[in-house]
């Protein structure tokens, strides 16, 4: 049984269709990424899956429970990091955690205290536990909100832009945490993000949505290769000139060469990078080029993404 399954999942706000007939499954233990430009419907999708709002059409099941008919059960087993940190500014970090831990059913006092301590220490917030959440910095609030989302060890975790506002170290901590939760605890994680490197690194599969509809689903690798194209060869020279470019272009395996604004950088499209690289390098050298470095440049998920959503992300 998939951990999350949707069929024809749709949400309308008046005449606007925010989410339009989404069909996707997420397997247990998977980290599934939801990508898409602003207003694509990521947050709305997550809200429906977390039983916060109900679909206008279609259905979704989370761990086998219907998000409409068994909404209480769904809310018990999922954890959610909402788009806004949604913390009580007048309560301290500890009081915030205490409230949510109990709301999520951790009724035993000692267990609750230990769990909160463990998590706050993990995020370097334990020392600040008695400070009002309202006095926290943006990133600290985000970390506290993530702590809240996982306090009850949910089977399924929804994270709406988890690394927004975080410094590089904290972002890495969160990524490590997600990997650990998915690998060790077999938690299913659905995350929405604008950081394509994160999605690339973490997700076993991503879905790109636009105007509420799914554009493509697949592993980051599939999307990179299929959509952004094959890898490119990058050669840096001490000095590049037309003669070198022409001699490379003359090779049979080369389909295109571009000389970068950066004076000595050539980007070469090849049908088969591995096989053709030695030939290309030899012809550059023979044409008198002084080679500084040779690299294979993988297309990024970003390129694939930009091709798909038409470049108007962020």
């Amino acid at each position: 049984m998939p951990s999350i399954e949707t069929e024809g999942l749709t949400k309308r706000f008046g005449s606007l269709t925010a989410v339009d007939h989404l069909n996707f499954d997420v397997e247990a233990g998977e980290i599934f990424g939801l990508l898409g430009p602003n207003g694509a419907g990521k947050t709305t999708t997550i809200r429906m899956l977390a039983s916060l709002i109900s679909p206008s059409e279609g259905y979704a099941r989370v761990s086998g429970h219907d998000v409409v008919k068994e909404s209480l059960k769904v809310r018990e087993i999922v954890g959610i990091l909402t788009e806004n940190p949604s913390l009580y500014d007048r309560l301290t970090a500890y009081e915030n955690m205490e409230f949510f831990a109990e709301a999520y059913g951790i009724t035993d006092r000692v267990e609750r205290r230990d769990r909160i301590r463990e998590l706050l220490e993990l995020f370097d917030l334990w020392e600040r536990r008695d400070d009002k959440a309202g006095n926290f910095s943006k990133g600290m609030k985000q970390k506290l909100a993530i702590t809240r989302a996982i306090v009850h060890n949910p089977e399924i975790l929804f994270l709406d832009e988890p690394t927004s506002g975080l410094d590089p170290k904290s972002s890495k901590d969160i990524r490590d945490l997600m990997e650990e939760l998915s690998r060790r605890e077999n938690q299913t994680i659905l995350l929405s993000t604008h950081r394509l490197e994160d999605a690339d690194r973490l997700c076993s599969r991503v879905m790109i949505i636009k105007d509420g509809g799914s554009v493509v689903v697949g592993s980051p690798e599939e999307l990179r290769n299929k959509i952004a194209g094959t890898p490119l060869l990058e050669i840096r020279l001490r000095k590049a000139d037309e003669r070198i470019v022409r001699s490379v272009e003359a090779l049979e395996q080369v389909s295109a060469v571009s000389l970068d604004a950066d004076p000595g950088r050539m980007l070469i499209s090849l049908d088969d990078v591995e096989a053709a690289t030695p030939l290309v390098v030899r012809s550059v050298v023979e044409a008198g080029g002084m080679v500084l470095s040779v690299n294979v440049v993988e297309p990024s998920l970003e390129e694939a993404y930009l091709k798909l959503v038409g470049g108007d992300s962020e």
Binding site: L52, I80, T82, S86, D89, R90
Partner: protein, 272 residues
């Protein structure tokens, strides 16, 4: 309904409110005005200056129109005593309905609309707490402090009145049966009606301020009517106070039925 979940919401809101001066100020200052400042003025000022004759004439006219039962209470008092007695025991009474309504609606708008405005509602609605538990916890946190304030105000008011008038009347004026019924019967039911209305308004608006404004527009006219009636009701004695309490119990039931219908988590989040 799991009562411990409702109480959890209650405790959380209680903590928040006790640190929120925007909420605490009005519910502490207004009662102090009614319980200490106004009665002290009524008692002390006529003694300091001689009451102007026009007001004495007005008072005489008013006293003539009082029900016989009260006229009997007034027999043997001098003019000054009559004025103080009628003012303190009857004409101030309606203010003691303002206190619970004001307190409960200030807290309820903070608790419902305020939580929406501060965007904390989403995480709250994501928890496995049901609509009923949430509504009950929040109604309770609006009701309990407002009753504490009302009860405290009554104690303070009785003390002020008795302290300042004992010498003049030779007996304790408060508490009496009408007042006990007013504070422990009518005030709670009126307060519940205020909560019911505020919950309904809060579900429809964006924030605390807006909820307060609409409450003011809706509540003030109702209060005015109450005002006009309450002195009369007090004058007509305990039975009338009891009857009005019953009427408000019915109003409460109606309002809460409606409130439960309107309070749907889906709606609260879908609104912008």
């Amino acid at each position: 309904m799991r009562i411990e979940k409702a109480l959890l919401v209650f405790r959380k809101d209680w903590r928040e409110i006790s640190r929120n001066w925007q909420v605490l100020m009005p519910i502490l200052v207004v009662p102090l005005l009614f319980t200490v400042a106004i009665p002290a003025a009524i008692i002390l000022i006529p003694g300091l200056m001689n009451a102007p004759t026009s007001s004495t004439a007005f008072l005489g006219l008013m006293v003539e129109n009082l029900p016989g039962q009260i006229q009997a209470q007034l027999s043997g008092m001098d003019e000054n005593q009559v004025m103080i007695y009628v003012m303190l025991l009857y004409f101030i009474a309606p203010f003691f309905l303002v206190i619970p309504v004001m307190a409960s609606s200030v807290i309820a708008s903070d608790s419902f609309a305020g939580e929406k405005e501060r965007k904390t509602i989403e995480a709250l609605l994501a928890t496995p707490i049901t609509d009923g538990e949430l509504l009950f916890g929040k109604a309770l946190v609006s009701f309990v402090p407002s009753m504490l304030v009302t009860g405290g105000s009554f104690l303070l008011y009785s003390a002020t009145v008795d302290l300042l008038t004992y010498e003049m009347f030779g007996r304790l004026l408060l508490p009496n049966l009408e007042w006990v019924l007013l504070i422990f019967g009518l005030a709670p039911t009126v307060s519940l009606a205020g909560i019911g209305l505020t919950v309904m308004i809060s579900a429809r608006v964006k924030g605390f301020k807006e909820a307060q404004q609409i409450s003011a527009v809706l509540v003030v006219p109702i209060l005015m009517m109450l005002f006009a009636q309450a002195s009369g009701v007090m004058l007509f004695g305990p039975l009338m106070v009891g009857a009005l309490t019953l009427v408000f119990i019915l109003v409460d039931i109606l309002l809460f039925r409606l409130g439960v219908k309107i309070f749907r988590r889906e709606k609260i989040l879908s609104q912008r």
